[in-house]
Symmetry: C2
Subunit: 161 residues, 2 copies
DNA sequence: ACTCCAATGTTATTGTGTAACATGGCTTGC
DNA sequence: GCAAGCCATGTTACACAATAACATTGGAGT
């Protein structure tokens, strides 16, 4: 039983549901969810946390699905472009999208103590930064919003207060 | 919402003023703005753009101020902690703070065509993400807010539209 | 059967960042 | 003065992150 956001949930079904949804979406959009790509997404869903490309590669290698960095990076590129996975810039790590299908301006809360990551929606461009961009004549195409701090669990335990 | 990044300004005085202010602040706070640290800040101010640690190191090395990565990284760590420099996570690069002294929740606009970076203020924690964090019981300590897109100059020239 | 193209396999390299330990120099208390 | 301790720096070596470039495979369409 792992954490979504910072709460418990039915993890088995969350994994299989998301995989099914991804398959359906790919079929519809003419994208190819190949074995490696599918397995990378599954790994991220199973572990349910931000993983480095080399962590993922380790698992792939153990399963005979590829042992060199480009294998992992190419699968991740595909999944990120398709919107199934997000990159956490602050951690140089990747995490399965928690709101697949939703329109996307993801924001993340990253616990500096246990490294758990929760995804929220933040339509940044609509707020103060959007105004600043408009004033400056800057055209926003993508946003990175990541908050670092302490998750409820670590706060409660008094970790790294 | 002051912007430095995409507009002309008196660069010489911006460099020397900021350096003086940094010196004053360090003296007051009991921090040591050593030659390497001071020079790194000066390099960032002079070039007035986001620089990788190894770019900075190259300049330092040419001046006999240190040739190994830890020299640059330690100086950058100091400057970031002191608030004189920000790291742009999306670029793995560092940029001198454009609003030294102000209370700090910096936000950045990054041009994907010319790599220029403008700094704005965005009190993120006060907005939608702050609400989400409060609801989740997450304590925000630091925020990374970076918008990627096209700056006015590149838009006007039609670069990479 | 052939061609094309997308995906994968593989080698090698570049870029980013840190661990760990040695040295030097200042300051603070004695 | 001088010893102790601390902070900054010097240096080696390495770990982690990402990509370039090229070879190979395998299916889709003709």
């Amino acid at each position: 039983m792992a954490l979504l956001g910072f709460e418990r949930h039915d993890h088995d079904s969350c994994v299989s549901d998301t995989l099914s949804a991804a398959e359906a979406h790919c079929a519809e959009a003419g994208l190819r969810l190949t074995p490696v790509r599918r397995r990378v997404l599954e790994i991220l869903l199973e572990r349910h946390r931000a993983l480095g490309a080399y962590d993922i590669l380790e698992t792939l290698a153990a399963e005979g699905l590829g042992s060199q960095p480009p294998v992992a990076y190419r699968a991740l590129d595909f999944l990120v472009k398709a919107g199934f996975v997000h990159k956490i810039e602050r951690l140089n790590a990747y995490v399965a999208c928690a709101h697949p299908g939703d329109s996307h301006a993801p924001a993340f809360m990253i616990c500096r103590s246990c490294d758990s990551v929760a995804e929220a929606q933040a339509s940044l461009a609509a707020g103060a930064l959007g105004d600043a961009a408009k004033a400056a004549g800057f055209r926003i195409e993508r946003t990175v919003v990541e908050a670092e701090g302490l998750c409820p669990g670590c706060l409660k335990r008094g970790d790294a207060t």
